[in-house]
Assembly symmetry: D2
Homo-oligomer: 136 residues x 4
């Protein structure tokens, strides 16, 4: 994801896949980000629990925000892994992203997704390739 | 994902996260499945390319369909990894899922996602835990 | 890995791939394990740093020990991912494994590998399938 | 792994972790490599099957050889994932590495490991960061 210094203005916007699916970045600073999924009837899979792709979208969005951090950087996701630890249900899923490594070219972020009772429903690891933000 | 024998009837339905985001399973047989993402203006990330979470949703949905195969099985995703090999753009992304292993308890499926020009934009590996479908 | 209640007696033994390569499990209790790699001239890759396969062996061995925990369980590794965050050098690498999830059938363990100065050189996530230990 | 143009001379050498554990690169050309593990009594885990770390070492070594390909490049492993599909036994395990993507900065390689009867025992995906080989 390309993210300019005012991340919420770019990500939390109509038209964005994440935003259109109920995902908002709620906190963003260097090497740290938080976000939340407001669960909708259309967030679900055939089991009636939250679709893994919806959780992945939350995770990737928040991790990418943490990777670009304080601004001046752009990133693309190189790879991402998720472990789905228990069925995800409820009205809200929170996500926190913190660094495993912040490099000049690559950053590796870990995410923890929790339900409303504070239980971890999924975890993940995302690798991003960084580049300086092109100034307009 | 829980999937009964008539997978398309369950997955390709309004209300499903995948379907609501333009994803349709187009082929399903034992150990094989195909699907397609019809790209929308709301499928994108801040770069203007298709969001990794949208591609992941396509991959997970098609891989799960292949895992349950000919029916009689239900599955949940244990973990999934994706590699994003080039920016995904265009009107349609196709996904094919084939087995790395089909076990009694666990199945491992690989996916290849291609754009309209036939180039691979992403690959992935998904592990599913299987159980017999509860008969209603 | 199959591990009976007295893990150190089974794992820390001549003939074991891990032990033969300088790896010892140093702590083992329910949902937690520690281990150490004593680096040898033969632990290295062409760069002269510790081979990723050697680090992976340390990680898998310690994570499996944590997965079987207090005994009575046997486990096999379903999958494992590692992120190599910086070149691994020095005389010793320590590894700590803690649970992401402990289930009846599957357990997911995370590992952190640190060098002698306390810097994280690699992290990983391992999924194990559990079964009761066969009693002789 | 750093690998100069004559890969076999550098990797298939006493002192290398892979070589010391019975692993030899047997074929190397641009975007392709093969290798083999000659199984030893010390290649095993407590189950008596080949240790996942030994298979990972084979995979990483062969994938890195494929990544640097025709020479002039050096690479380090960014991350690697392995799926262990069935117990690995027998006298030899063969590994083939082919590209998922060959980029200027990152290359993604997939590996397939087969036993003597031709059955796939494990698969994996490795991401490498490339840089020009320093000339001495």
């Amino acid at each position: 994801m390309h993210l300019n210094p005012d991340i919420p203005r770019v990500v939390n916007q109509p038209g964005q896949f994440s935003f259109e699916n109920g995902i908002t970045v709620t906190c963003s600073r260097a090497g740290y980000a938080e976000g939340v999924l407001e669960v909708r009837p259309t967030s679900l899979n055939p089991h009636g629990t939250i679709h893994g792709g919806c959780l992945y979208t939350l995770a990737d969005t928040v991790a990418g925000t943490a990777a670009v951090g304080a601004g001046g950087l752009s990133c693309v996701t190189v790879s991402g892994t998720m472990e789905f630890l228990r069925p995800a249900t409820g009205k809200r899923i929170a996500c926190v992203a913190t660094p495993k490594k912040e490099g000049r070219t690559l950053s590796v972020m870990q995410v923890v997704l929790t339900n409303e009772t504070g239980k971890t429903v999924a975890t993940g690891t995302f690798t991003f390739m960084l580049s300086p933000t092109k100034q307009p």
